[in-house]
Symmetry: none
Subunit: 422 residues, 2 copies
Amino acid sequence: MIICDGMADRSIPELAYKTPLEIAKKPNMDWIAKRGISGIMDAIAPGVAPGSDTAHLALLGYDPYEIYTGRGPFEAAGAGIELKPGDIAFRANYATVDKNMVVTDRRAGRIHDTEPLAEAVQNIKIKGADFIFRSTVGHRATLVLRGGGISPEVTDSDPHEEGKKPLKFEPCLKAPEQVVPAYPIIAGGVRKYVMRRRRAAKTAKLLNDFSHKAHEILKKHPLNIERAKKKLPPANYLLLRGGGVVPRLVPFYEKFKIRGACVAAAALVKGVCKLSGMTVVNVPGATGSVDTNLDAKAKAALQQLKSHDFVLLHVKGSDEASHDGNLRAKIDIIERTDEIINQFIDAVDFLVVTADHTTPIEFKNHTADPVPVAISGPGVRADDVKTYSERSAANGGLGRIRGKDLIPIIADLMGKGHKFGE
Amino acid sequence: MIICDGMADRSIPELAYKTPLEIAKKPNMDWIAKRGISGIMDAIAPGVAPGSDTAHLALLGYDPYEIYTGRGPFEAAGAGIELKPGDIAFRANYATVDKNMVVTDRRAGRIHDTEPLAEAVQNIKIKGADFIFRSTVGHRATLVLRGGGISPEVTDSDPHEEGKKPLKFEPCLKAPEQVVPAYPIIAGGVRKYVMRRRRAAKTAKLLNDFSHKAHEILKKHPLNIERAKKKLPPANYLLLRGGGVVPRLVPFYEKFKIRGACVAAAALVKGVCKLSGMTVVNVPGATGSVDTNLDAKAKAALQQLKSHDFVLLHVKGSDEASHDGNLRAKIDIIERTDEIINQFIDAVDFLVVTADHTTPIEFKNHTADPVPVAISGPGVRADDVKTYSERSAANGGLGRIRGKDLIPIIADLMGKGHKFGE
């Protein structure tokens, strides 16, 4: 299954109201559509624009409304941290604050090679919880809190703008309709409200103390002193966002009896697959960008297919190009992705090509428009659709399905379906 | 409404990737599709392969996830036993065990005329519950437990293979996510766990005692002694399976204000209709097989339409042919079913033709592929679909619907819809 992140688009006036998929040369995707069955798919529901995190959860058969409280846990899992259900995880940016504690650079001059800083931060000990901190790509990092009596019901510290001070963490109790079963403590009624407030307040205090200590350590760190000498902005503050509780997912294999592997560069997608118990492969040269080594990813996918029933091959570049509003780059990554699909046509039984969500070039962000999906393989009821695109797929034999239906449909075609009743 | 069990199929390479429905001559089904509106339908949900029991429940507007715990109750109801909500019912096979209690024939040489055996078994009395036992077709029978403090949370005794011993009944408490509201005792939390275990243990013991007594009675029964003389395998053991609790269904008439009747041979379908409060007709010559007297069924349906608003006419042969992988027989039963539809075209307002699930000839079991559905009648918004098949229906005006939507759609067309709001 090839998921091209954000590949679906809207009608673009400059393309005579066509979409990038309708313009791109993609004979292999068209082959799948022609030989197979097509449809349109709402990753979550019509009118709901999904994040890549919630979309991938849904495409793997999980209900994001049940298990998603924030992006942090999936980024942290993708970064290789061994998480436990109940951990609270955040995404972090190394940032620069001035003497008045005003954020002057949210990315600390796009610093990289931050491992020495992470090591220093990792030594922070605060009574009440364990802190696990790890640098990831560039100026990014991830923070995990572990311990009893902590809560994801807190605000973030990232002001999302330069010229402002980092925000203080504060308790923010969710309304019951926003409460997710992944975090049982917040599922209770009024009776548990006092307990929830206490946990949230404790967690906010722990995070404020951590942020303060991290700042004290970072501002004196030799690496930052050296950066100051070079007139580079020091990475002296950690802005935290996307906090969420690590959910307990029923393993993918247990749900579907399918041995799954994931070939992806994006930490988020790796994290979703990791938490679902799938094998997650690190591919050298896979960057999560338009310059990624797609051929290496295809080879890795073929390798995993020797020991797995199912491989999710994720291509991030199409989303990046869309967020940048770069039409040429988007068409290019679609065409290059199509080229590698050729290797799978004779190598596997079933091929699925889809996107996790629509990211229109003109809107530069995710929208709720459904995505095209095409499935080819033995027994599949081929329809009259001849090409792979948003528009042609809408006439396909699958009709309009939900993301959560996709794996059950594929499992059934693979002969691994589950009969309900006799 | 004509339901051809398992009629839908997948693309078959030998038929140039067509399906049996696309090959069969079926002018009357095509007439319904051409004059009416078509669509594809997931009896339960996309990707879920239904049993005939859960599918028929859904097609009659019930939620099988709410009321289904096993096939037993529907078989027992179809066999004519007057059930009460809370009864636990099993399907039974007369089987042969040797002196070491190893099953040597799961069907006791496909014994029939088992009434004398059933009479003897019916005399078994065990303190703690009432036992109702009845022979049905051939080597089959059905057992109902009635009494306070019993539970469907027990295993079965059928090893499903010869050369093995019958299994002992044991308590098997379902995980909360498998719990169905039909059996409220298992819907409680940890607090009720002890009670559940006790009920399940009691039920398992009752069933083990029953199985033992039945064996003692059957092995000495004159009919079996006579069979032994004729070198026929004795029917000396009852293998029980498909246990479930009898649900309390809101009657079909109460739900939809439609007086319904059912013309079917299959005990299962009769049972579903019986439990929903529909009139169930016994048609001489209706066998539930490809040799059934379809004309007699059509006549019976026309007769029932004089006193009912709605008749479900069920044809089982198409599923039987599919399970056998018999393409010729499948096409034949489709064509013969089509012939009888001709009698309805002038006789009724609305005609519906569909299947309960897909049973591909090549897979020989139920799959989750959606089934075609076509509805003709006054006021129906006819679409461009010209023939009745899986593929053509996917382009129809109904789109992709769920089984539970079908009766409400039909009721609305009949002017018996229910307005929600004003």
